[in-house]
C-alpha cells in the first residue's frame, strides 16, 4: 500500500489516463480498507456477543435468567443477585480459595524451575540444546488427559491424593514447557552485549544478571506468570480427577453442573471468565512473543 501512496506526488504533468488509473487504485484501496474493517468488526461481534450474553445473564436477577424469551438488551435489570447466589452456593468460596492457591503455587514453581532453563536456552550453545528444545515442544503438545489418570493412581498410592499441593505439582508439569519456551524468548530479547558491557565495567556475572538483565526481563516474566495463572485457573480435567474434597472452582462447577440451576451455571461461567478477560488485556503485547516461539 505504501508503494501506491508514494506515486501521489507527480513531479511532472500527468496525462488524464494516469490520473484515472490513480483514482481507480485509490478507490480500490479505500474499498479494501472498508472491507477489512467490516470483516474485523464482524469477527469481533462473533467473539464478543456470546460473552455479552453470559455477562448479562450473570449480572441480572435469577428471575430474569429463567425468563423466556430473553431480552436481547443486556443488563435489564442490572443486579448482582445471580452472582451473589452463585458465590454463596456450597463449595464455591472454598473452591475459589483452592483455585487461587493452586494457581499461585503453580506460577511460582513453574517460573522458578523454568527461568534457569529458559536462560540456558537463550544464552548458551551447548550440546543437546536442540534435543532439549524439541523434547520440550513434544511434551508441550501432550494432552492433560494422558497425565492425569496415572498421576492420580500414583498420588492415591502415595497418599497425596486430593490435595491442592499435588494438583499444583500437576499444573506445574503442564505449564513448564510453555513457560520455558516463553522465558527463553524473553531472555533472547535482551542482547547479551548488555550483560557483557556490565561485566566489562566490573560486575560479576550474577550482578550483571541482577542489575541489567532482570529489570529488563521482569515484564516478560510477569506476563508469562500471568499466563500460567490463567492456565491453572482454567484447567478442569486434572482438577476433577485429582481432587475430591479440595476441589478448585472449575472442578466444583463441573461436578455440580447436572444438579444445579441455570442462574448458578451462568454466573459460574461468567465468574470463571473474569481473570482471562483482565489478564489477556495486560499481556496482549507479549502474545506473539509467547506463541510465536512455539512455532519455531
Amino acid at each position: 500500500m505504501t508503494s501506491v501512496t508514494r506515486v501521489q506526488k507527480p513531479a511532472v504533468q500527468v496525462s488524464p489516463e494516469v490520473k484515472a488509473i490513480h483514482r481507480h487504485m485509490l478507490r480500490r484501496q479505500r474499498l479494501g480498507r472498508a472491507v477489512t474493517y467490516l470483516v474485523g468488526i464482524l469477527i469481533s461481534l462473533w467473539v464478543l456477543i456470546p460473552i455479552l450474553f453470559i455477562t448479562s445473564m450473570a449480572l441480572t436477577t435469577p428471575a430474569e435468567v429463567r425468563a423466556y424469551p430473553k431480552g436481547i438488551l443486556p443488563f435489564i435489570p442490572l443486579s448482582t443477585e445471580t452472582l451473589e447466589f452463585f458465590l454463596r452456593s456450597r463449595g464455591i468460596l472454598p473452591g475459589l480459595r483452592n483455585s487461587v492457591v493452586v494457581a499461585v503455587i503453580t506460577l511460582i514453581l513453574s517460573t522458578l524451575i523454568a527461568a534457569p532453563a529458559g536462560y540456558a536456552l537463550s544464552r548458551f550453545a551447548f550440546r543437546g540444546r536442540d534435543v532439549f528444545r524439541l523434547s520440550i515442544l513434544a511434551v508441550r503438545a501432550f494432552p492433560i488427559v494422558i497425565l492425569s489418570i496415572p498421576l492420580a493412581v500414583v498420588f492415591l498410592r502415595t497418599g497425596i491424593y486430593d490435595s491442592v499441593y499435588s494438583l499444583a505439582l500437576m499444573h506445574t508439569a503442564l505449564a513448564l514447557p510453555t513457560t520455558i519456551l516463553v522465558l527463553s524468548s524473553v531472555f533472547s530479547s535482551v542482547p547479551y552485549e548488555l550483560e557483557e558491557a556490565a561485566m566489562v565495567f566490573g560486575c560479576s556475572p550474577g550482578q550483571a544478571f541482577r542489575h541489567v538483565v532482570l529489570p529488563l526481563v521482569m515484564p516478560g516474566i510477569a506476563a508469562s506468570a500471568i499466563f500460567t495463572f490463567v492456565l491453572s485457573w482454567n484447567e478442569v480435567f486434572a482438577a476433577t480427577i485429582l481432587t475430591i474434597q479440595n476441589r478448585t472452582l472449575p472442578a466444583q462447577v463441573l461436578v455440580t453442573l447436572n444438579q444445579s440451576s441455570e442462574p448458578y451455571q451462568f454466573a459460574g461461567g461468567f465468574f470463571m471468565m473474569i481473570p482471562a478477560l483482565i489478564f489477556i488485556f495486560y499481556i496482549r503485547r507479549y502474545l506473539f512473543n509467547m506463541w510465536g516461539q512455539i512455532s519455531k
Binding site: 430473553k70 494432552p143 494422558i146 447436572n258 512455539i294 519455531k296
Partner: protein, 463 residues
C-alpha cells in the same frame, strides 16, 4: 521466523547450561515421563493376576505352579506359619495364635515349647490382658493321640520337643501370631496344581473345604483392559465423535484464523483492539465456554429468544437432547471454533510477521488478487507455522472435554476424554481409564507423525 540472536558461547564453564536445565529436566521426568510410562503400564498390566503356589508352606520354598485369579480350589489342609509382624492384619487373612508354654511333660520333667492356642485353656491373664497361665485341653475324640505335642518353634513343621498330658497346668511365656496357609488343589489349563498358599489370597466357601483365589501375588501382562475399552458400548461412538469433531473443527479454525490474521496484519487504525478482542478466547476455560454456548442453545436460551423475537418460530425448539444429536454436534463445533481459533490466530500472526514486507508488496505490485496472495505467497511461507498449529490443535482436539460435558450432559454425545473421565470417576476402573489415556496418546503421536510426514512430502513435491 524471526531470527533469534545467535546464542553466545562461553568456552569455559561448559557445565553451566546443564546445571540450569537440570531442575526442569528432573521435574519433567518426574511428572511427565514417569506418569506416561505408568499410564501405559496401568493399561496393560493386571496387578495380582496370578497366585504362586508353593511346594511347602513357606514363602521361600520352590514354586509348584501358578493359578489365575478366580480359580476354584479344594482346600485339603491348613497350617499356621510365622509371618513378619508388619503383614499381620492384611485383609482376608486367617491367623492362628501359638503360645510358648512351660509345664510338666509326660516323662515327668519340666519341658518348654510352642503349642497352638486351641490346645490351651487360658486360666489367668495379667492386667494388660496377656495370658500368663492355663491348662492343656483334653482331646475328646478317641481316635486321635490324646497327648499334646510341644514344638521347638511356632508352626506345625518345626521339631517336636515333648508331649503333655491333658489338664497339665502350664505357664504361658510368650505368644505368636501365625498366618494360616492352605494346601490347595486346583486346575488351570488342564493341569492340576497342588501346593501351599497363604490364606490372605483365598476366600473360603461353605464349610471351608472349597475356596476361590481372591487375588494373586504376581502381576501379569494382559489385554483385558484394552479389550474392555474396545468392547465398551461408548468406545466407538466416542472415537467417531472425536474424529468427526476434528475433521469439522480444524478447517473452520484455520480459515477463520487466517482471516483474523489478515485483518490484524492490514495495519488499520485500531488493529490493537481487534487483536485484543480476537485473542480474548485464548484465556477462556473450556468449561466457561461450554456454559456460554449452553446459554445460547438451551431450550429457553438466546437462540430461541432471537428466533422467536424475529418471528421465525412460535415456540422454543429443543436443541440439546438425545433426539437432536446433530444440534449438539453443531453447538460443540461452534463452541470449539469460537474458543480455540485464537490460538491458531496468534501462531499464524507470529508467522506472518516473519514474512518479509517486500515479498507481500511485490505480490501486490504485480497485481495479484487477495486470494492469489494468500494461496501462492502467504500459505506457502506460513507452512512451518501452520504445521505446528495443526499438530497442536489436533492434539488439543483429542482433549475436548468440558465443552462436550456441558452441552450434552455427558451422556448423549461422548468423546474419548469424556470416556476416560467416566471410567476413572464414575466407574472407578483405573486400568480401563489408563487404557483410554494410552489410546489418546497413541492417536496424538500418530497424527503428529502423519502431519510431519505429509508436510515434508508436499515440500518435496513442490521443491
Amino acid at each position: 521466523m524471526t531470527t533469534a540472536p545467535a546464542p553466545k558461547t562461553r568456552k569455559k564453564m561448559n557445565w553451566v547450561p546443564y546445571l540450569l536445565i537440570l531442575p526442569s529436566l528432573v521435574y519433567l521426568a518426574l511428572f511427565f515421563a514417569w506418569p506416561m510410562v505408568q499410564g501405559l503400564i496401568l493399561s496393560i498390566r493386571e496387578d495380582g493376576a496370578l497366585l504362586t503356589v508353593r511346594s511347602k508352606s513357606e514363602q521361600a520354598s520352590s514354586m509348584a505352579g501358578q493359578l489365575p485369579r478366580g480359580t476354584q480350589v479344594d482346600i485339603l489342609q491348613r497350617q499356621g506359619n510365622p509371618i513378619p509382624p508388619e503383614s499381620v492384619q492384611e485383609s482376608n487373612q486367617l491367623t492362628e495364635v501359638w503360645f510358648r508354654v512351660r509345664g510338666m511333660g509326660v516323662e515327668g520333667q519340666l519341658i518348654e515349647g510352642w503349642v497352638p492356642e486351641r490346645r490351651i485353656r487360658v486360666r489367668e491373664s495379667d492386667e494388660s490382658g496377656r495370658p500368663v497361665s492355663g491348662s492343656v485341653r483334653s482331646i475328646l475324640s478317641s481316635s486321635v493321640d490324646p497327648l499334646t505335642y510341644l514344638h521347638m518353634e511356632a508352626g506345625e513343621d518345626s521339631e517336636i520337643v515333648g508331649q503333655m498330658e491333658a489338664r497339665t497346668t502350664v505357664e504361658i511365656l510368650d505368644q505368636a501370631t501365625l498366618e494360616v496357609w492352605f494346601l490347595i488343589h486346583g486346575e488351570y489349563e488342564n493341569k492340576t496344581i497342588e501346593g501351599w498358599v497363604p490364606s490372605r489370597y483365598i476366600s473360603t466357601l461353605g464349610d471351608g473345604t472349597r475356596g476361590r483365589i481372591e487375588v494373586g501375588d504376581t502381576s501379569q501382562f494382559t489385554t483385558r483392559y484394552i479389550q474392555r475399552m474396545v468392547n465398551d458400548r461408548f468406545f466407538w461412538p466416542a472415537l467417531r465423535t472425536t474424529l468427526l469433531l476434528i475433521v469439522l473443527i480444524i478447517p473452520a479454525q484455520f480459515i477463520l484464523a487466517i482471516i483474523m490474521a489478515l485483518v490484524i496484519q492490514a495495519d488499520l487504525k485500531g488493529s490493537g483492539i481487534f487483536l485484543y478482542i480476537f485473542a480474548i478466547a485464548l484465556g477462556l476455560s473450556d468449561l466457561a465456554v461450554g456454559i456460554v454456548w449452553y446459554s445460547i442453545f438451551t431450550q429457553f436460551g438466546y437462540l430461541n429468544s432471537i428466533l422467536q423475537g424475529i418471528g421465525l418460530i412460535d415456540a422454543p425448539l429443543t436443541y440439546l437432547s438425545a433426539d437432536t444429536r446433530y444440534w449438539i454436534l453443531i453447538a460443540v463445533w461452534l463452541a470449539e471454533v469460537w474458543r480455540a481459533t485464537a490460538l491458531v490466530m496468534v501462531i499464524v500472526v507470529a508467522g506472518m510477521q516473519a514474512i518479509p514486507r517486500e515479498v507481500l508488496e511485490a505480490g501486490e505490485v504485480f497485481g495479484a488478487t487477495l486470494w492469489q496472495r494468500v494461496r501462492y505467497i502467504i500459505i506457502p511461507l506460513l507452512r512451518p507455522s501452520l504445521q505446528v498449529a495443526l499438530i497442536l490443535r489436533t492434539i488439543l482436539a483429542f482433549q475436548v472435554f468440558a465443552v462436550v460435558i456441558v452441552l450434552s450432559g455427558g451422556d448423549v454425545m461422548t468423546v474419548l476424554a469424556n470416556e476416560t473421565y467416566r471410567q476413572y470417576y464414575d466407574l472407578q476402573n483405573f486400568n480401563v481409564a489408563g487404557a483410554y489415556a494410552s489410546f489418546i496418546l497413541l492417536l496424538s503421536m500418530i497424527t503428529s507423525f502423519f502431519y510431519l510426514r505429509a508436510v515434508r512430502t508436499q515440500e518435496e513435491v513442490i521443491g
